[in-house]
């Protein structure tokens, strides 16, 4: 990890221009959750030219289906889900202003190209570190698609949510670079 950068949402072009793969970031502000089922609905709205349930410009979507909140806590365990399942939907959302995504695991080339084109960034949270992430979430409320249960869209207030920059706006990919660096040919 080269450096630690604090980020406040919504993100600006200037914010994302400073980020490189491997940077550790601490994200604060409002972020939105969404996974497979919610993405399908969001992209259907975009394609129909309809308004989204939240203003997506400069925002971050976190790929998560949280566990139920235990008494006295704003949310249950809330680590990232695997991102490639959202790859078919992500470019359409970046085209209408989405600036960041948080998940785990590599993205396909179409998403990487869209990040370059739209000046957007992909952050990796630590898969399985779901209590560590939950501690960075100070408030949570469902704002759309309540029928989807854990897959509903939630607005989260986060403070110093720890992530690593996995894809920057310059086309770099930590998953390719990291493996290249540590692979031992046999």
């Amino acid at each position: 990890m080269t450096k630690t950068i604090k980020l406040q949402t919504p993100l600006t072009d200037e914010d994302v221009s400073k980020l490189s793969i491997g940077d550790k970031v601490l994200i604060s502000g409002t972020i939105y959750t969404g996974r497979d089922a919610a993405h399908k609905r969001l992209v259907e709205l975009v394609e129909a030219g309809k308004e989204l349930p939240f203003d997506i410009k400069g925002q971050i979507i976190y790929y998560v289906g949280p566990a139920p909140a235990p008494p006295g806590k704003p949310i249950g365990s809330a680590g990232p889900t695997t991102s490639y399942r959202m790859d078919p939907y992500a470019p359409a959302l970046m085209d209408v202003g989405l600036k960041g995504m948080i998940g785990k695991g590599p993205r396909n080339q179409a998403v990487i190209d869209s990040m370059k084109k739209n000046q957007a960034v992909y952050f990796a949270a630590i898969g399985g570190a779901a209590v560590v992430v939950a501690k960075a979430i100070t408030a949570a409320k469902v704002i759309a698609y309540e029928d989807l249960g854990t897959e509903a869209i939630r607005e989260l207030k986060v403070k110093n949510f720890p992530c690593i920059v996995a894809n920057d706006i310059y086309g770099n990919d930590i998953y390719q670079e990291g493996v290249k660096k540590y692979k031992i040919e046999t």
Binding site: P70, S77, G127, K181
Partner: protein, 281 residues
């Protein structure tokens, strides 16, 4: 003959679901610590230390270590001298799962129709239940909650005898390579060999129940496990796929006899949360 009322099973399954999700096994923690010492990548080291911190927090706060609290996979070893009374045995297991996932604030991660409707069943049932009849008059129940991210990276291949052990090793290593950072490495690689198409997959899943500090009881297979682990950890994938030496914590193999024409090979990928808890009644 021993009579057991199925109602006795409900609170036991309930507790196993909760405990498996809150308290990771010491074998997993010890392995992560062991690999932390050997890891060369600073990013990988940081990831491993965050995972250790997370497991400690989960146990202390009584929260599931991962939000994906899985499908409840339940293995039953039913003594043949047990007479079950008081209702439906499988319904009792499902009631235990229902209560455990509700009372433990665990995520309900099942959909009913798998393709067209995909509506959540809301109580994490039905459990996936596998029963073996064994000698004796006890019941052993193991609950192994299985997450979706790692399960999605699993595969069965019907290989040829001519592919040999080298072909099997290459297939398993390549399955891990193709999985990359998706299944939450460091992973455990469960391998099922032989049986039939369907049995190989179940063997691979059962192989994941072996504690990580135990090696295969047969030397020749223990050596194969070591060879696969070494090759997998040369792939460079590392924790979370960010690059590093710790791609897998262990490889566990189970094998059975098979047809003269066949050589089924199943790889069941398990994320670092290699969760399972057992109880004996």
């Amino acid at each position: 003959m021993r009579e057991i009322n199925v109602k006795e099973i409900i609170p036991i399954v309930r507790k196993l679901c909760i405990d498996a999700n809150y308290y990771i096994g010491k074998d997993v923690l010890d392995k992560i610590k062991e690999f932390y010492e050997k890891e060369e990548s600073p990013t990988a080291k940081e990831v491993l230390s965050i995972l250790l911190e997370n497991y400690e927090l989960a146990a202390n706060e009584k929260m599931p270590s991962c939000q994906d609290t899985g499908v409840a996979v339940v293995f039953i070893e039913l003594g043949q001298d047990v007479h079950l009374v008081g209702g439906n045995f499988y319904e009792a297991i499902n009631e235990g799962v229902r209560q455990g996932y509700k009372d433990g604030y665990l995520r309900k991660s099942l959909v009913d129709d798998p393709i067209i409707d995909r509506v959540n069943t809301k109580d994490n049932t039905p459990a996936l239940i596998y029963t073996d009849i064994v000698p004796g008059e006890k019941i052993k129940i193991t609950v192994a909650p299985k997450g979706g991210g790692s399960e999605n990276m699993s595969e069965v291949k019907m290989m040829k005898a001519a592919d040999g052990i080298e072909g099997v090793i290459d297939f398993v290593v390549d399955r891990v390579r193709r999985s990359g950072g998706n299944p939450c490495p460091p992973i455990v690689v469960g391998v099922g060999l032989g049986g039939n198409f369907e049995q190989s997959a179940l063997l691979a899943k059962k192989a994941l129940l072996r504690p990580l500090n135990e090696s295969h009881p047969e030397d020749k297979w223990a050596k194969v496990e070591e060879e696969i682990l070494e090759k997998v950890n040369k792939l460079g994938i590392g924790p979370q796929g960010f690059g590093g030496r710790t791609t897998a914590l262990g490889v566990t193999i189970l094998h059975k006899p098979c047809h003269i024409a066949s050589m089924p090979v199943a790889v069941n990928i398990q994320c670092h949360a290699a969760r399972h808890k057992s109880a004996v009644i």
